[in-house]
Symmetry: C2
Subunit: 350 residues, 2 copies
Amino acid sequence: MSKTPKRPLTLRDVSEASGVSEMTVSRVLRGLGDVSEATRARVQEAASRLGYVPNRIAGALASNRVNLVAVVIPSLGNMVFPEVLSGISEGLEGSGLQPVVGFTDYLPEREEKALFEMLSWRPSGVIVAGLEHSEASRAMLARAGVPVVEIMDVDGEAIDAVVGISHVRAGREMADAILAAGYRRIGFLGTKMPLDYRARKRLEGFRARLAEAGVGIEDQEFYEGGSALLKGREMTQAILARSPDLDFLYYSNDMIGAGGLLWLLGKGVAIPDRVGLAGFNRIELLDGLPRRLATMDACRREIGLRAAAIVAARRADPSLPGAERVELTPTIEPGDTLRRRPGAAPDPRA
Amino acid sequence: MSKTPKRPLTLRDVSEASGVSEMTVSRVLRGLGDVSEATRARVQEAASRLGYVPNRIAGALASNRVNLVAVVIPSLGNMVFPEVLSGISEGLEGSGLQPVVGFTDYLPEREEKALFEMLSWRPSGVIVAGLEHSEASRAMLARAGVPVVEIMDVDGEAIDAVVGISHVRAGREMADAILAAGYRRIGFLGTKMPLDYRARKRLEGFRARLAEAGVGIEDQEFYEGGSALLKGREMTQAILARSPDLDFLYYSNDMIGAGGLLWLLGKGVAIPDRVGLAGFNRIELLDGLPRRLATMDACRREIGLRAAAIVAARRADPSLPGAERVELTPTIEPGDTLRRRPGAAPDPRA
DNA sequence: GTGAAAGCGCTAACAT
DNA sequence: ATGTTAGCGCTTTCAC
C-alpha cells in the first residue's frame, strides 16, 4: 500500500484524484444521468481505486433523505421475529431501503428508548410490533412524519398503517376447532409475560368462545424464562398430575406445545384420543417431530412482506393516503394432535 | 393538539420555546455539565413539551461521532446468531453504543454490500462474523479507521481484533471424545453450504484427528434448506439404511442432531450403545429432548459480550493498541448419547 | 454536460 | 454559566 490515511476519504479526494468537480463526482456516484461516459468512467475508476465509501451522514443531512427503515420488535428469542424480519428484508428489496432493528424485550420503556434512538436517525419509515405503546411512544410515532406500520396484531387502534392478524379471533377459532372435535375438559399452558398482549388476546378470545359453549378452562399453567421445550414438558407433567381428567391442552406457542407432545409420547399417552394438543405459530420445528402438533399459522413472513411494501410504496409516492389496514387470516392446521370426529362439525375453513 | 408541524423540530425550536441559546440547549440535551439548574429545567421542559427528537445525522456530522456499531452476520435462521447478538447488546450496555445489524446469507457479495452500507454511516466499530472475506471487504474494513472485531472463529488471519473459538480444534476434540468412547465406524451429517467455513473447519479437524487414529469417516450425508429437525430425521434414516454398521453419527449442528436423536428413539435404537450421537452448538432446545444430545458449547453469548467489550473499550480510549485476540475454549458435554467406557481414556478437559 | 454557492442541523472551539 | 462563529461532507439550486 502506498499510504494509509487515517482520515476517511471524501468526495473531494475523489474529485482531486479524477480531476472532476465534486458535484460531478457526486452525480456519477449516485448514478444520475447527464454525465458523459468518459467522465463517468474516470470517476468510477478513481473512486474504486481509492476505496471511497460515501459519507451517508453528510448525504442524508444535505438531502433530507435516509434509506433506513426502523424496525422495533420485542426480541429474537422465540422464532417468530426472525421470520418477520426476513419478510421485511425481502419486501424492501429493490426499494433501496435498509432495515435497522431495535429490541424492546417486551418492556414499554425499552420500546420508548429504541424508538427515540431510531427516530433520531430520521428513518424513512417505522415498523413496530404491536398496537400497545406508551403515551410518549405514540406521540413520537405520530409526529415522526414518516409512515408508521404497526405489525402482528390488528385488535386495537392503529397510529397509521397496520398489518397483522386478529389474535382474539385466532383464539376463538382454535376454541371452535377444539370444541368441534369433541374435547370438553380443557387446560391452558402459556407464558407469564403480562406484556405479551398478543398471547393475552388469544387466551381472551379462546376463553370467551369456550364460555359461549358453556365450557371453562379447567386448569392452567404458566412459565417464564428457560428452554421453552423443557418448560413445555414440565408444565405438561405438572398440569396433568394436578388435573388428570383434562382431555385437551392448548399451548400459547408451538415450542412449549412441542415439549408437551414429546413428553406425552414418551409416557405412551394416546394422542389425540386420550388428550388432544394445539399450539400457535406454525414453527418449522414442528415438521421434524414424531407427530404434527395442531397449530395455527401466524403469517409472520407475509406480515413482514406487506409491512415493508407499505413503507416502500409510500416512500416512492408520498401522496398516498396512508392508514392502510391489512388483516391476514391465519389457518388452523389440525396436524395429528386434534381428533377428527366423523360426526363433528366440519371445519368452516375446510 | 394545537398544531401539527410536518417539519421535524430542530434545536432552534427548543431554543426559541425556552428562551435559551441553541448552544446551551444542546448542552442540556447532551447532559453536559456547566449549566445552571434553572436553565436545565427550562430546557428540559420545553424539549419534552414539544416532543423534540434530536437529529443524530446533524449531530454526527458535526461531532464526527456515531453511537452505532455495525454487526454483520450470516442470518438469524439457525439459533446461533440471536444469542451472539444478545451478548453484543449486553456488552454494549452502558457504553452508549447501539448495534445495527446487517445480514449476508453466507454470500460474500452480500457481505460486501452490507459492509459498504454500514460503513457509509461511519459506525464506531464493526463486528463481523468469520475471517473469510472478499478482497474488497477486507480492504474496506482495514481502511475503516474504527475497531474491527471478527467473531466466531480464530482459525485464520484477522484484520484487527478477533474473538471466537477454534473450530478445527472443536472438530478434533470431538473426534478425540468419540474415539475415547470406543466408537470406530463413524458417519458425518452436515449442511451443503460450501461457504459455511466454520462447519467446514470442524469437519476438517474432525477428519484429521480420526485419520491420525487410523479411522475414516465411513459415510456422509448433506442437506440444504428446510426444517433442520426434519432433515436430521431424514438424513439419519438415509445414512443408516445405506450404512447400517455405523456406530456413531456426528452432526454438524444440534438441530439436525436432535432430529436424528428423535428418529432413533422412535425406532427403539439403543443409544448410546448401538449408536452414539453428537452435535454442535449447545442449543437450548436440547434441554427439552428425551435424551441429552452430546454437544459442544460454541460460547456464542460470550463471544458477543467480549466483542462488544473490545469495541466499547477502544472507543472510550482510542489509544489502545488493538488487534486483540480472544480464543474461547468450548467444552464437550457428553449428555446421554456418548457412551462412557470405564476403561476408556479420560477426557483431558475433565 | 459541468461547476459554484449556499446550507442541511448540529457541535467544537473559542469567546465572554 | 452562556453565547458566537465556523464548518462537518454532502446535495440542492441555479448558472453557464
